[in-house]
Subunit: 340 residues, 2 copies
Amino acid sequence: MKIAIDAMGGDDAPKEIVLGAIEATEQFDCELVLVGDKEKINKVLATKPNWNRNKISIYHADEVIEMGEHPGAAVRRKKNSSIVVATRLVKTGECDAVLSAGSTGAAVAAALLGLGRISGIDRPTIATPLPNSEGITLLLDSGANVDSKPNQLKQSAIMGAIYAKYVFGIHNPKVGLLNIGEEPTKGNEQALSTYPLLQSLKTINFIGNVEGRDIPKGTVDVVVCDGFVGNIVLKFAEGLAKTMIDLLKDAIKNSNIFSKLAALVLKSSLKKLSKRVDYAEYGGAPLLGVDGCFIICHGSSKAKAIRSAVGITCNYIKNDVVQHIKENVIKEADVENVKE
Amino acid sequence: MKIAIDAMGGDDAPKEIVLGAIEATEQFDCELVLVGDKEKINKVLATKPNWNRNKISIYHADEVIEMGEHPGAAVRRKKNSSIVVATRLVKTGECDAVLSAGSTGAAVAAALLGLGRISGIDRPTIATPLPNSEGITLLLDSGANVDSKPNQLKQSAIMGAIYAKYVFGIHNPKVGLLNIGEEPTKGNEQALSTYPLLQSLKTINFIGNVEGRDIPKGTVDVVVCDGFVGNIVLKFAEGLAKTMIDLLKDAIKNSNIFSKLAALVLKSSLKKLSKRVDYAEYGGAPLLGVDGCFIICHGSSKAKAIRSAVGITCNYIKNDVVQHIKENVIKEADVENVKE
């Protein structure tokens, strides 16, 4: 298994990306190709003299797409940018997957132009795992598309179910449509038109509409929504979890000496909780629907997040998610043809 | 100040509503009229013999709108239902405000039919306070309308700013448009069209687009969005806060005896945190844009939530929010006319 890593993408690139890659090679059975400015990458590697020479190599690329650039135009123009080169390595078969913490827009553009879409899929979608009280809930789309057509949400449902099954090992995952009420008559126009489409699918276990509160409860495994809603929920979740941990820490700090001692004893419980709601623990999110394995990481990813994302990527490749998506898209199309 | 309370609306009505009303009269300077089944209301009052006879009265109404009914049709048909009668008491001037924990749809229908809209407002909007790290962030619309027109979001911004100022005492409240990125070029069609409208307003302090994470951070006072998005965020927040508290309790429960002792000491800190994220503490949410004071409470409201909601209602009446909205809508319209 060989993964191309966009070493230049992300707020703390290349440092945290390279350090994360080094950590990942200690944990996972894979080869990593660091794509980007050779000199800068080598500087970071030099800080960890024991990095594994058999598992990490460098592929030089001298351009970088900056956060402010127009994604589509930049990807077309900067053919030697790290993200474009890394994607090309997958297209040519030299690598099995690409991983980037660069701008989401640039990642989507690079994936679409470099790998193309799976036949039968109109738009790719980002599937982000959110921690719930039991394990994870997969939220998609969490930001690749806005103003999605109901048919695109249908495709998201098919892909999300496969990803939940093969990467997170959830048997017959429960798929729900994110809405403002459980009844099929509730919601905006998009949700109202999407409901019957999801109901007609044969390869997924559609449980109907779900509400915001069902995500952290863990009563649903795959939650389908428009990228506008998904992205807002995702960022809100990150913010709220952080605020709550901060409030708890403050409450402890401002309490009396006994409470402080107590807090010390409770430290491990608190740490466990922080870990539970730390999105970095869950690593990258796949861009589902492109014809190849493309994993997107949070722009603010630190080494730990990159390491987790490499783990997710290994599972993704090993379980042949792209192939399963292709098969189920064909199965659903057959169902439609029979109906007609 | 006299408030009509729909004693029959809510999952735990009339019990929790009546108990909440009794508590409210101990805390706030107002008269309450309990509207609903006289016999049932009296039964609850009888459990608290010391309730204040000078501040609480009963207004009999023998019909109830059930959760499953079509709101508009039910409000039209059941002219003697508690929510319709309570609203009528405001229309006729016998009461200054109405408060209901019944179905949101029925509340919106009763308000629209019974009180009408403020001139210049197309649709009413629900403004819900969400706790942030410093105080509260007002989220609107949190569920009255879906597929809102940009012009309706503009009206929400005007009304939200007034509510934040006069009820929560926030000076020159910062108003943001909920979006998936800070740049004015980000978002779905609705957000893209709304941005310039908000920018053109003269009576509000528009700070541009805000993201999901800004809500709990408290960097914005009033967040404007479509009711579909707002309702999902609101319910997600309730669910996530609950899940996190549960996880923390679990972590403590499953730890060793020292941690348990520590937890006992920390109990007050934990309680403070729970209180901080407990939406019941923040009481009801106003239906802004109707020509009268209408406060909606969560369907699952317990006595405490009703008590808080009465407090909010008193502030709402005292500060003449409806009048301020009317004035600012006219001011903004003048600005538009001058421009043309």
